[in-house]
């Protein structure tokens, strides 16, 4: 599944990061690397972008970009 489909409030472990060159690079350097656990905190009032919690900070990402990240759901800590 992708990060886009991960329900709000649940967490996922990153399996792979896709996307075009610039986007992908940016995602990687912001800490979305394989095996990172990401929690989907909430969505913006209009449903997009979403708010993620990873590596102790909050990152926002558009759904179209979140779709490029495949994850497996994990139980929240």
């Amino acid at each position: 599944m992708t990060l886009r489909n991960l329900p709000i409030g649940s967490s996922g472990r990153v399996l792979s990061v896709g996307g075009e060159k610039v986007l992908r690079h940016r995602l990687l350097e912001m800490g979305i690397t394989p095996r990172t656990v990401i929690k989907v905190r909430k969505a913006a009032p209009l449903g997009d972008p979403v708010e993620l919690l990873l590596r102790g900070y909050v990152l926002t990402l558009r759904l179209d970009d979140a779709e490029k990240i495949t994850v497996e759901e994990v139980a929240a800590e």
């Binding site: 350097e29 009032p45 449903g47 909050v58 926002t60």
Partner: protein, 667 residues
């Protein structure tokens, strides 16, 4: 000695810079781009200056800010780097640190926000962190001014003794092998190009177009590098970029496990979550935002800024009166006196009257920005703005445009990409600025008393719609291509540093005042000249004989199709280029009517259709000279500013033409 200050966004970099330098700053641009470069002398040190580099997350070559930082660090050979990192967000911040270390420039890490870490019962083992990274680490709190002295001492000492980072190897296994193989291969090239070998090798393994060019590698060497990278990719079962990012983060996780006693969810984080249940909540986000904006606008344009502005204008008028009577008493030639008073003084004074409004607006805006709220606004508004090819970040400058185009265009400086910035600047003039309000009020009261509110709202909406249309077209034509990805951090809410806010206000005021005395000064003198003389350079007694009137007459040929055949209308529009408020003033002078009768006498030169057309035209035509000067500065090009003016003129003419003719038909 020159130091460079580098760090992520939202880590307190500007606050630290201000603490280090006080008001001792010079602002300029990095060569070739409109990225701002601030330099300052460090307080209490002899001849140590520090350059504030843009807030970036890595040294990859994808944005202007990253390229500027790289160029500066590689080409300008600073004596040392101060790398500021946010101790409450240490993992992501260290990512840039690892890349900076590879440059082998003497470096000191400033571990900021240590007060927050301690307040939340966390701790960081500083000696162990120093050992792990191989660079000195100084815990500080920029906001509370803690550790600044130690930081200054450590940073200058490290730079003076040329103490380079002690280690550069953060990798293991296949990545390590690839980097070493490449480093070996390119050593000579890197030395010739003046690039640190290790940095070059890592960048090449990661894949870096500009650097590959710079190093002047031959076919054979490129193949060998590709081969080394392939080998790494195969044994790691991933690609080069992911491999490098993963390598760095693995090292960072290890360091963080050893050195950081985690504090769990901090008070600041919990506070942010609580605030965000309202400020970015499903139902309250937009009402809260509108409320905050209305409050800011009301305070700026209604209460504080306007009042200060009125006071200043009063003072300037009084001073003007004094100077005027002084000059008269001295018996100065009346024409020269008129040049000084009606031209230079009146022009500069009318522009200076804006300063309090601009400063007040920037006070609130920087409070909102530094507290972390603006990032939320960008996040909430991103979806609708994406439809016209922009990101949420462009929303705030556009909104400020309803107040005044000048600070709005200045505010585009916070935008991440040159493309977004240019597009936002093109759109801002469509947001009807507050100086046009008196024109709307006068005309709607005179011609459409029953539908005053409706017409005014219609004007604002027309401006917005045409702006959106412009963005839409620009997005499909000139600015085609992908917008910069919207991968944005939401920092915890924090209290802004007073010093930073004050310095920003001073900055903006200075910016504007300098412009008032240069370009705006020149422009007002030119208009005065045109208004005072006729074509044979005799002083006119009736303004109808002036060169300006002659220009007005010739312009009215162009404007007749939109309903302004009378030269007085065109002339008032020309003076509106100085400041939109001037339109009403010059109409009053040209009609020879007092402020009270002006509304009634407008019927002589405007039909209702022409009045409607006039409203549309003033809504859309060229921004005032102060705004154009700002656009020129922010776009960094005269051509760009001229294009904005030409475009606004064309749109205004077409729209007014349509309005005039349609109204003629239907009324």
């Amino acid at each position: 000695m020159t130091l460079a200050l580098a760090g992520n966004q939202n880590c307190g970099k500007t606050t630290l810079f201000n603490q280090l330098t006080g008001s001792n700053q010079r602002v300029g641009n990095f060569p070739g781009v409109t990225v701002e470069q601030k330099t300052g002398e460090i307080t209490g040190q002899k001849q140590v200056s520090i350059v504030d580099l843009p807030g970036i997350y890595s040294l990859s070559p994808y944005t202007d800010e990253e390229m500027v930082t790289r160029d500066f660090l590689l080409r300008k050979n600073p004596d040392g780097i101060v790398n500021i990192i946010d101790a409450t967000n240490i993992e992501r911040n260290l990512y840039l640190t690892l890349q900076l270390i590879e440059l082998q420039i003497p470096m000191t890490v400033a571990l900021n926000m240590m007060d927050e870490v301690q307040a939340n019962n966390g701790s960081i083992d500083i000696p162990l962190l120093e050992e792990s990274l191989g660079v000195p680490v100084v815990p500080i709190s920029a906001v509370k001014r803690m550790g600044i002295g130690e930081l200054t001492e450590k940073a200058t000492e490290t730079a003076k003794l040329r103490r380079r980072p002690q280690r550069i190897d953060f990798c293991a296994g296949p990545v390590h092998r690839a980097i070493h193989a490449v480093a070996h291969m390119i050593e000579d090239h890197a030395q010739d190009a003046g690039v640190p070998v290790r940095f070059a090798a890592t960048r090449l393994v990661e894949g870096d177009g500009p650097l590959t060019e710079l190093l002047n590698l031959n076919e054979n060497e490129r193949d060998m590098i590709d081969h080394a990278v392939k080998e790494m990719e195969i044994s790691l079962e991933t690609d080069r970029e992911a491999a490098m990012a993963d390598m760095r983060y693995q090292f960072i996780e290890e360091v963080s496990r050893k050195c950081v006693k985690h504090m769990g969810e901090s008070r600041e984080y919990k506070r942010s979550i609580r605030l965000d249940t309202v400020l970015t909540g499903k139902f309250w986000a937009i009402p809260a935002f509108l409320g905050i904006m209305l409050l800011v606008f009301w305070l700026t344009f209604g209460v504080i800024g306007q009042r200060l502005s009125d006071l200043l204008v009063l003072g300037l008028d009084a001073a003007g009166g004094l100077i005027d009577s002084g000059l008269t008493a001295y018996g100065l030639n009346p024409v020269i006196r008129s040049l000084i008073m009606d031209g230079a003084y009146a022009g500069v004074a009318s522009v200076l009257g804006f300063v309090p409004i601009i400063v007040t607006l920037f006070f609130f805006m920087s409070m909102l920005e530094d507290s972390g709220y603006m990032a939320r606004v960008a996040y909430v508004m991103d979806k609708p703005l994406r439809k016209i090819g922009l990101s949420g970040r462009s929303f705030v400058p556009m909104l400020m445009g309803f107040g005044c185009t000048v600070p709005a265009v200045m505010a585009t400086r916070t935008l991440a990409s040159a493309r977004d910035k240019k597009m936002t600047i093109m759109l801002t003039p469509f947001m009807s600025c507050s100086a046009k309000l008196p024109i709307y009020a006068l005309f709607t009261a005179a011609f459409f008393p029953k539908y005053q509110a409706l017409v005014m709202t219609g004007l604002y909406v027309t401006g917005i719609l045409l702006g959106v249309l412009t963005a839409f077209v620009l997005n499909k034509t000139v600015f085609k291509g992908a917008p910069v990805p919207f991968v944005m951090e939401l920092p915890n809410y924090r209290f802004p540093s007073v010093k930073t806010v004050l310095l920003l206000m001073w900055d903006k005021a200075k910016d504007f005042i300098i412009r008032a005395f240069t370009i705006i000064f020149a422009a007002t003198v030119v208009i005065w000249f045109l208004q005072t003389f006729d074509a044979r350079f005799n002083v006119v007694t009736d303004s109808a004989d002036s060169i300006l009137a002659a220009i007005g007459r010739s312009v009215s040929v162009l404007l007749a199709p939109v309903g302004f055949a009378d030269w007085r209308v065109s002339t008032s529009l020309i003076t509106g280029f100085m400041a939109k408020e001037a339109v009403i003033g010059s109409l009053a002078v040209l009609m020879d009517a007092g402020a009270a009768e002006l509304g009634g006498s407008l019927g002589q030169i405007f039909s209702p259709a022409a009045a409607f057309s006039f409203l549309t035209f003033t809504l859309l035509y060229t921004p005032c000279v102060a705004a154009v000067a700002t656009v020129r500065k922010e776009l960094g090009s005269v051509k760009g500013a001229a294009l904005v003016v030409a475009y606004q003129m064309a749109v205004a003419w077409v729209a007014a033409f349509a309005v005039y003719n349609l109204t003629e038909i239907f009324i």
